[in-house]
Amino acid sequence: MIYQGKQKIWADYQKEIPDDRWYYVRSCIRQNFFPGAEKMFMEICRNVLKKDFYESASHTTCGGIAYHCDTIPQETVMTIVARQFALMTEAGYENYVASCITSFGNYIEILETWNEFPELEAKIREMLWKACRREFNKPKYVAHASDLIYKYRNLIAERAKYRLINKNTGEPLKVVEHIGCHYSKMFPSKGVGGAEYPYVLCGMVEAWGGNVIDYPERRHCCGYGFRQYHIKANRGYSISNTHKKFESMEPYHPDMIITNCPGCPYFMDRWQYAIAEMEGKTYGENGYGIPVFTYEEVAGLVLGYDPWDLGLQLHQVAVEPLLDKMGIEYDPKRKYEGLNHKDLLKPELPGVLRCC
Amino acid sequence: MIGMIFILSYCLVALVRIIMQLPGNDRKKFFISLVTPKTMAKNIRDIFCDCLFHVKLWKRNKLLGYMHSSIAFGWFMLIVVGHIEVLLYTPHRAKLLYFPIFFRYFVAETEETMRGAFFFFLMDFFLLMVLSGIFLAMFKRIQSGVFGMRRTTNPSFLDLIGLYSLWAIFPLRLLAEGFTADISGGSFLTKSLNYVLHSFLSDHANMLPAWWAYSCALGIFLIVLPFTRYMHIPAEILLIPLRNAGIKIRNARKGLAKAEVYACPSCGLCIDACPMGVMKTHIKDTTVYLNRQIRRNNERRIEEISDKCLLCGKCTAICPVGVEGDKLRIAQRSLRKYAINQDYSGIDTDQLHVKGEKVMYFAGCMTALTPAISKAMESLLRKAGVSYSFMDRDGGICCGRPMLMAGRFDQARQMVEKNTEIIKASGADTLLLSCPICYRIFREKYRLEGIRIIHHTEYIAELIRQGRLSMDKGYTKYVFHDPCELGRGCGVYEEPREVLSYAGELVEATKNRKESICCGGSLGSLTLGFDKRKSMTENALANLTEASPDVIATACPLCRSTFVRYADRPVEDIAEIIDRNCI
């Protein structure tokens, strides 16, 4: 691998991301899967970096899942998105940041479509007016939340308490980065680093001391694929794709996986359990899995937040081996203690995949 | 002596083995045929004609015929007359086989008596005849062209020993008898030689070595005979009654096949006949070499030779002893083991059924690629007012002949059964075919009782004769190429010519009818690649165009498409020509 060659490509795909004043929209599903992630994003942006991030309780889904599942027509999804933009306009913001990759892709796709077909935009404005008497300005800039963490990666590194370095060996951790498909595969120029070698997560990993692994199936989908998972008959196809990725990364012995999409960490995390049950195979060391994180969780860990406050106890694959490697202190007893200090009860442990 | 006893016992054992190897019913058939007066007479006639007089060879080339019959008949007569002599002079010794041969050595006789002189003359006459044959044989070794043979067989080592000992026998006999002539008597040849010899060698002591040399040469010849091509002498005598009994090759190596292989005299006539012969590299793939390799059990070469052949059947047609080169090869092919064995039971013939008119036209696979033929045929049938059904207008099941030629009898049989079903269900009483390849298997392997199987050339001839088609004779010069499967395969030679003569002037190719040269496109060859066939096609074309015809006519879709590729003038099927010249 010629690193300079990649750098040359990265240089071609850089974005001028505004520094401040963002209107933030959450993902539909992330709070259920990784409840600490979005909380940590706001925590870092607002409290650590003191930036202006606004969010509104009245925003809804962007319609992306339904759109990609072919259950609603394009006009519907566009009207939903128009309403989101109206909320942003009403709040007085011009920069729009989405937590969800599908949303990000959805917004970009819709804005590009409106550029190509202005009559469609006019039609949507009319529909939005008829539906809820709202008007909107198109955002000046649409970013994905990982773009911002990427932008702030060096600021975070400056404040870091831990680095992505194996404390025992002093070697950088081997990190698999996985980019959500809708981040830049549809519009390469809209993603940091482009579509072939996206840099957004690489940049974070590098800034925080880790080593990115470039394995053959790096580009491959996590396996979610909307319809492929939602319909049970297709689920074998979904897990086959995840399996393919793990088989491909296995020889590199990665320490962790970092992702920037709502679905990817979920499927790469949970399917490791299902694969273990189906094939009796695990991919981490000593019968554990490879822990999968969102970039916010990794930023939180690096900044020294308590793993259990980051919601890492909701991961299927045990994170403890990684915490140990990084030298992060944690209290195993607190793992299943709720915020109200009540015992959440330890879940039943799976048969094949080793968990703590 | 030893040689004679050896060869007789060997032949006897071989005879019994071959007969035992025949399948039960064939064996019965054979024995019955032996005692049936008609076949018996035919057997005897054939043995005399073929083995002694070599009638077939006489027809081919007078010198070649004379050479063979002089040796065979002369020797035979020497033996017969010798025996008569012995019988007359020393009847008590007639049981000793060797006695007649060395009669002159044992018995001193006088030519003074009329009887003696007569026998002496006969013996000398036949000896001279044999000697002239031997002389011709020697000459043939050097100049085979004179005998109408461009190329001859490359003899093996043992063949050479046999050859030289055969050559040696009769000159030595002459020498020996020459020495003894003054004691035992002789006639014009031996006596005069005796005088010549005595003029410088008067010692009778030379007598003994000469007789010894003669007996040695004869002994060697007889001992090596079973291992050389001269085995054909006894084997042919067996082959003739077997063939006359109507027995067919049923096993690649046993029974009739074995008899044929041993009956091959290695004469090499098949080398010139073989259409592959245009390329020197193929000379060793001719029937004579196949027979030699089968005798040696060289499996690799047997496979190579038998797979390469175009199965045009020309070697069979011209073989003086009747070795069936094509059938022998198909039999060898049938020995191959395949891991994938085709099975057509899945084909539903119901979807292929044709509503039956009385005449059913089956164009065949090859005709599907030469639609001009089927179009012309349909047009002719319409013009003649024949109502017909087209069995494979939308494609059908292959007739099975190509599969049969590959030696896969079981697969071919399956196709035959499927097509039989369709034809029988149609209610047709005439099956009209355009492709000689199909025609042959339909005639030979299909059991379609009550249904007339006819090739379109025959059918067209019939229609014209009946006046259902009227022709406008033009001035175009046609040459007819006899397709292998139609001519040699089915014996149809006259009808195509008759039909063509209605359309224009007919000229003949240099080699025609049963000696017609395969177009080179034959499905018979399994291994010959496309690039290797070009020179064969060109050679066949050269043969056809010697009389400068305007159009090359043929009656086979495969010949037609093969010739079209390289021909310098139009190539057409007879059906097309007739359709065009039909009023």
Partner: protein
């Protein structure tokens, strides 16, 4: 082991790294013409057996080149050896010999 009601399905992709080309190589030794195929499809289009089955010489050659032997067997069991494919092949491939050679060399796994 738990039955989830779905399974990891095997990849449908052709992996040339572990494709078993031994049969192809053997056939190529006997009939080098096999490598001349340009996948024009004339053979399949003209094939009378193709009407009753999935027979296609083109696909047979391709499957051998990709190490897929089972499909080949299925197709070849319907061949009638009529020779039309040989006649139409623009590359002059001796398809009949090719077919017979494969039939001879084919070994069940």
């Amino acid at each position: 082991m738990i039955d989830f009601g779905f399974k990891i399905s095997p990849s449908s992709a052709i992996n040339m790294d572990n494709a078993d080309l031994s049969l192809y190589e053997k056939v190529r030794e006997i009939e080098p013409d096999i490598s001349k195929c340009i996948a024009c499809g004339s053979c399949s289009a003209t094939c009378p057996a193709g009407r009753f089955s999935g027979m296609s010489v083109r696909k047979c050659i391709l499957d051998l080149q990709r190490g897929k032997k089972n499909e080949v067997k299925k197709m070849l069991s319907c061949c009638m050896l009529c020779g039309k494919c040989t006649m139409v092949c623009p590359r002059g491939i001796n398809t009949r010999h090719l077919i017979l050679s494969i039939c001879k060399l084919y070994k069940e796994d």
